[in-house]
Amino acid sequence: LSDSSLNVDSVPRVRMEVRFRKVRGTVLVAANDQTLELTETAAFSSGEIDGVRAVSDIGAALAREYEIPEEMAIDDTVSLIADLIADDIVELVA
């Protein structure tokens, strides 16, 4: 599955070769010889990615956690997942 098939029903999964570290409150992601720093909300959403739940479920969890409108949270989640796919951090399993 490619980035182009990403939608709210897609199921993302963190690629196995990706390494995460939570250093003094900041979540760092290492993939392809680059290290990225995740924002708090991106870190939360990344933590919800389990290879089972759909993008819409992750967005709904984000909405509950930060008390923001669900539609907005799902849109943000789609954008985040697209970025994570582009950085080879996440892949789609469905």
């Binding site: 196995m16 990706v18 390494r19 939570k22 250093v23 990344s46 933590g47």
Partner: protein
């Protein structure tokens, strides 16, 4: 369970094994945690300002100055007692190694700590005093403020990542049995990282379930932990499923555990 070991000080004095001017004496290990069996040793640490010397002592090597920890073992009332004599100056050197400055300079500083050094520091957290409570509390506070926990968590997460990569590589290389063994290793390291992050130190596998119950991490219930530990969901016809489940759990731990 007896948690009062103050009587041991007089026993050690009678045997000529309590140096004058020692700063602190404490019981460590399974006895101090209340996890001992009838056959368990009783392990002591005695901290001194002068080097301990006795014909009954043998030495444990440490990369410190002086490079040895004198150790004495004997039987008393049907139980083996083991005493380790640490110099205060060696303890100072050890704390220098686990400073935040040392960790910030090299996050792999944990790889240069020896087992003897790590065990000494780990056991400070749960030791029970014979004498010298003030010394213990001061050093515990110092340990809590140091980078020790982060050093060990970082080390365990790195090992877990390495073992996951090995397991997946072996699985991809049509060697699932080796992959399962590597995944078990990865799981052990990930659990160590999780438990250490909750202040539950100790690398011995035999205590992991007790440490898990003591830490009670929110990330994983004891039942889930025990299911992985006993490989309850492992299907011999589909070993890859278990390996991948362990790999996902390790990833989850590395995202949640604070360094």
């Amino acid at each position: 369970v007896n948690t009062d070991f103050t009587y041991c000080g007089a026993v050690l004095e009678d045997l000529g094994l309590m140096p004058e001017g020692s700063l602190s004496t404490f019981v460590v290990g399974s006895m101090a945690r209340g996890w001992a069996s009838p056959a368990s040793d009783i392990d002591f640490v005695i901290v001194t300002t002068e080097e301990f010397s006795d014909e009954r002592a043998f030495s444990l090597d440490v990369p410190l100055d002086p490079p040895a920890v004198p150790t004495v073992a004997f039987r008393h009332e049907d139980r083996r007692w083991e005493l380790k004599y640490w110099l205060e100056s060696q303890v100072d050197q050890l704390f220098d190694k686990i400073s935040w400055e040392a960790f910030d300079q090299d996050q792999k500083v944990g790889d240069r700590l020896t087992e003897v050094e790590v065990v000494f520091l780990e056991r400070l957290v749960t030791c029970l005093p014979v004498r010298g409570d003030d010394w213990i509390q001061r050093r515990r506070d110092q340990l809590e403020a140091s980078a020790f926990r982060s050093i060990l968590v970082m080390q365990a997460l790195t090992k877990a990542d390495e073992k996951v990569e090995t397991a997946l590589s072996q699985l991809a290389g049509d060697d699932p049995e080796s992959g399962v063994l590597s995944a078990r290793d990865a799981f052990g390291w990930a659990m160590d990282a999780l438990l250490i992050s909750h202040g539950e130190y100790g690398a011995l596998v035999k205590w992991r379930a007790r440490r898990f119950r003591a830490a009670a991490p929110k990330l994983l219930s004891f039942e889930e932990y025990w299911s992985y530990e006993t490989m309850r969901t492992y299907d011999p016809s589909k070993p890859g499923n278990w390996i991948e489940a362990v790999a996902r759990l390790c990833k989850k731990v590395s995202m949640e555990v604070e360094i």
